[in-house]
């Protein structure tokens, strides 16, 4: 073993020892989410309550651990109670009163609180959980088929009904298509073992041994990758999670984001130690190129090529930058990664810096993310203390410093040239490219800018190899992509799936579909630079090229689900308002053009539009796309053009009938009270948030139209159908 690896292992041992002392042999771990979203849902109060109860109990073998968010947003705060050899129980929407129950019943007495278990609204407690997953690229056929066979077999073999619960999950990405040899993966809880088999005979052997005799059947155990197993063994029993493949989010919900030791205990910084030991920068770039990794910020530029571009210059001063200016409204994957696993970003950047010969890096983070900033600061400081950052890292003679710079709420700063001006302390206005940042970047030096998710993938590729990574995904889009699934969806949250997964799988299999009684209308991807994909195209695979073909873009990963109550004209207008407001004003097409487009949309949503307006919108939109200076302007018309392409009828209804079919456009809606039907129950007047409904008890009421904000509350609460929506 070389000198650098020795040094690394020495540091690792020290950190792990300290961690052991800290954990002091704790057996039970109470794990509590602690990201911005978890805190907004009350995680801090929940944690304080657990701490209070733990102290009162006097128990020393229980450890309370904070983790980042697992991405199951709508059920937060999530609390996990992990006892060795027992089910990894997770509880949803935990409140302070529920903490008492969980602590008394589960932590102290070992009886799980069934009603609160995450995503399992059932009073039945199973002995075992089984998840069938595809071993290669996404297919749900094989797992579903085997799940059915398995359940039949259990019955015929006389295994008590209701004692085993089965799921079928997504893909584990262990092999490329065909290489798995028709085998299917089968994960069994609470033993947390993975079988791989392909015949009914083999399945029978597993059932006999494992489900009847209670012994693990070793001959068919699969060699599951520890990276994937780590997440699966804690979360594989939850349908929302077991269809995901977590590479970028590999540590979110597993490690304490404020503990370097915890990161190191989970293979952290191994990849950096390895490349430092080898000391072959070109080999790193080649590996990244071979992996097929493409920029996750939206552009999809091959990362390896970008790094190669940067080393062609003779300028010895070079920089790496992490673009963490996640300005796309409706996207929160980067925040979650920064808050849940800041070390991976630092790790990736250190490797990238070594590859291109940069001695300094900048993390450009949104000022709106105070917790992410705090965690990054803490992580950088911890890394500096043990010489994983700074001068002469691990005795390699290589220096790398990392500095955080705060954005200040300018969406355009996600554009790379604007971002660099902002780091330089200037107004964040983009400039023409070329020269590209890899030639002339920060202060004129070659600079590589990658997004949070891209950086987070780097250590995985270096550690597990380009071939392994390239097995996941499609031919042209490798690896996974994280999406922030939100809007009118049952299970909102973070979803990481292999490229090539269809929208249908994401929305229905993972997201649980739209709320009962509603129908899916469209899926918005790519934020203000993307577009809405209509429900009819829901079988589109999610990769860079397929999304471009249907007129949207991958973007950074925002995915907003719209249902039949959403107005596409209003949605298009919403995005244009955003880009108009965020236009930096440097070039005319973007500054003036988007304003004119917005004016037209305002006319249409107010009922003053004409049919010519639609042609005008399209002409203007095309012009702005062609002539704008930077990506912001070049993509700003997309949401409008896309809406016109797929939902033209809705625009026409607004113009010709002066009606908004969804009643979203408030200028086209009006609420009135039918004096015949109103009995004067006063309910609407009491519920009106702006108290604009007048009337005395038992007499018909009246709405003051001048003050009405058209929220529709009166319409919703009236029990006599006396409020009319017009």
């Amino acid at each position: 073993m070389g000198k650098i690896l020795d040094q690394f292992n020495h540091i690792k041992q020290q950190l792990l020892q300290k961690r052991e002392q800290y954990l002091a042999g704790s057996k039970t771990v109470i794990q509590i989410g602690s990201a911005t979203c978890e805190n907004a849902a009350g995680a801090q109060q929940v944690r304080a309550e657990f701490e209070k109860l733990l102290k009162a109990s006097g128990r020393k073998d229980i450890h309370i651990k904070q983790v980042g968010c697992t991405g199951r947003c709508s059920q937060e705060p999530i609390v996990g109670v992990f006892v060795p050899d027992k089910f990894p129980f997770k509880y949803e929407r935990v409140t302070v009163p529920k903490v008492q129950e969980i602590f008394q019943q589960h932590v102290l007495q070992g009886q799980p609180v069934v009603d609160l278990i995450l995503d399992k609204k059932t009073s039945n407690l199973y002995n075992r959980l089984v998840t069938f997953s595809s071993l290669s690229t996404a297919t749900t056929e094989l797992p579903t088929k085997w799940e059915n066979i398995f359940n039949e077999r259990l019955k015929t073999r006389g295994v008590a009904e209701g004692s085993v619960r089965s799921f079928h999950g997504g893909c584990l990405g262990l092999y490329s298509a065909g290489e798995e040899g028709g085998r299917v993966g089968m994960l069994v809880f609470p033993e947390k073992v993975m079988y791989a088999f392909s015949t009914e005979k083999e399945l029978d052997k597993i059932i006999s041994s494992h489900f009847i005799e209670g012994k693990v059947y070793k001959p068919l155990l699969a060699d599951i990758d520890p990276l994937i197993n780590r997440f699966f063994s804690l979360y594989g029993d939850v349908a929302f999670f077991n269809k995901q493949t977590r590479l970028t989010l590999r540590n979110s919900g597993i490690i304490d984001p404020e503990s370097l030791a915890d990161y190191i205990a989970n293979d952290g910084f191994e990849a950096l130690a390895l490349v430092l030991e080898k000391n072959d920068p070109q080999a790193i770039i080649d590996e990244i190129s071979k992996s097929g990794l493409r920029g996750r910020g939206g552009g999809g530029y091959p990362t390896g090529r970008k790094w190669n571009d940067a080393i062609t210059s003779s300028d010895p001063v070079r920089f790496v930058i992490c673009n963490a200016d996640e300005g796309d409204p409706g996207a929160f994957m980067d925040r979650s990664t920064l808050e849940g696993d800041p070390y991976s970003i630092i790790h990736g950047m250190a490797i990238g810096a070594l590859a291109i010969g940069a001695q300094k890096g900048y993390l450009y983070v949104r000022a709106e993310y105070p917790l992410a900033i705090k965690r990054l600061e803490n992580a950088i400081e911890q890394c500096c203390q043990v010489n994983l950052l700074g001068e002469n890292i691990l005795g390699s003679g290589y220096n790398f410093d990392l500095e955080i710079r705060l954005g200040a709420g300018a969406f355009v700063c996600g554009e790379e040239t604007a971002l660099m001006y902002s780091i330089e302390g200037k107004r964040g206005q983009p400039r023409l490219r070329p020269p590209y940042p890899t030639q002339s970047g920060l202060w004129g030096h070659p600079t590589v800018i990658n997004n949070v998710e891209t950086w987070a993938n780097v250590p995985v590729i270096v550690r597990h190899g380009a071939d392994w990574f390239a097995r996941i995904g499609t031919e042209k889009s490798k690896g996974t992509k994280v999406f922030a699934l939100a809007g009118k969806i049952k299970n909102s949250g973070l979803v990481e799936v292999p490229m090539g997964t269809t929208l249908r799988e994401i929305i229905y299999d993972i997201g649980g579909g739209v709320e009962a009684g509603r129908t899916l209308k469209a899926v918005q991807t790519g934020g203000p630079s993307g577009g809405c994909i209509p429900a009819g195209l829901i079988d589109t695979p999610v990769d860079y090229d397929s999304l471009t073909q249907v007129g949207s873009i991958m973007g950074s990963g925002g995915m907003i689900v719209l249902d039949d109550e959403d107005c596409m004209v209003a949605t298009a207008k919403f995005f244009l308002e955003f880009t108009q407001d965020e236009s930096c004003g440097k070039c005319v097409p973007c500054r003036e053009g988007t304003l004119r487009m917005l004016e037209i949309l305002e006319r249409i949503t107010a009922g003053h539009g004409t049919m010519e307006d639609l042609d005008k919108l399209e002409r203007l939109g095309r012009l702005i796309k062609k002539t704008s200076l930077c990506g912001l302007g070049q993509t700003a018309p997309n949401p409008v053009l896309n809406a016109l392409k797929y939902f033209r009828e809705e625009f026409i209804t607004h113009i010709q009938d002066k009606r908004c079919p969804t009643q979203k456009c408030s200028k086209l809606t009006r609420f009135e009270i039918d004096p015949e039907k109103c009995i004067g129950c006063t309910l609407c007047a009491r519920r009106c948030p702006v108290t604009c409904i007048k009337g005395t008890a038992r007499k018909p009421h009246e709405i003051d139209q001048a003050r009405c904000i058209k929220c529709g509350e009166c319409f919703n609460v009236c029990k006599f159908e006396a409020v009319l929506k017009k």
């Binding site: 000022a367 300018a410 302390g425 200037k426 964040g428 919403f574 904000i709």
Partner: protein
């Protein structure tokens, strides 16, 4: 206002500017300095911007240019309770525009304004990334999730009551 005696920036910020001056590309720390001032005083006053220009040795026009370019920087004092309605896509889809309207009507102020008594100011914010709990409103640092229209007046009343408790 060119004499040094009128300088009023807090000594911590002054010493931060001085450490910046020791570093390479000191002018690049301008935004960090402005963030610190806003954290301390709630907004960037003309006097403070002028003082930064002097101390950091950059043109006052640059400081003003940067302060006005970025949405996050406020040039007016905020109310004691700064209400901020998230206008991200998920919040919009879940009715944030109506929540904002309700705050405007309830407080009788427009977007970016402060009530006459200096108690409340109202602004909208870019996506806070709490999309799973939309619509989201923050009041000072506290985040409120799944805000309904009825809660608007409740929230304001609760704050007013608490404020009275504190001051009496």
């Amino acid at each position: 206002m060119t004499t040094k005696t009128e300088y009023t920036l807090h000594p911590d910020i002054v010493s931060f500017i001085e450490t910046c001056l020791q570093k390479e590309h000191s002018e690049s720390y301008l935004m960090d300095i402005l963030h610190k001032i806003q954290d301390k005083y709630g907004y960037l006053s003309e006097e403070h911007m002028y003082e930064v220009a002097q101390r950091l040795q950059v043109p006052a026009s640059t400081v003003s240019g940067v302060s006005t370019f970025y949405h996050f920087f406020r040039l007016q004092p905020r109310g004691k309770y700064a209400i901020s309605v998230c206008m991200g896509t998920a919040c919009f889809v879940k009715g944030a525009d109506k929540v904002l309207n309700a705050f405007q009507t309830e407080l009788g102020i427009g977007l970016g304004e402060t009530t006459k008594d200096g108690m409340f100011s109202l602004e909208n914010t870019r996506c806070l990334g709490v999309c799973g709990l939309a619509p989201v409103v923050t009041i000072n640092e506290q985040v409120y999730s799944r805000v309904t229209l009825q809660q608007v007046s409740e929230l304001i009343n609760r704050i007013l009551n608490k404020d009275v408790e504190k001051t009496t």
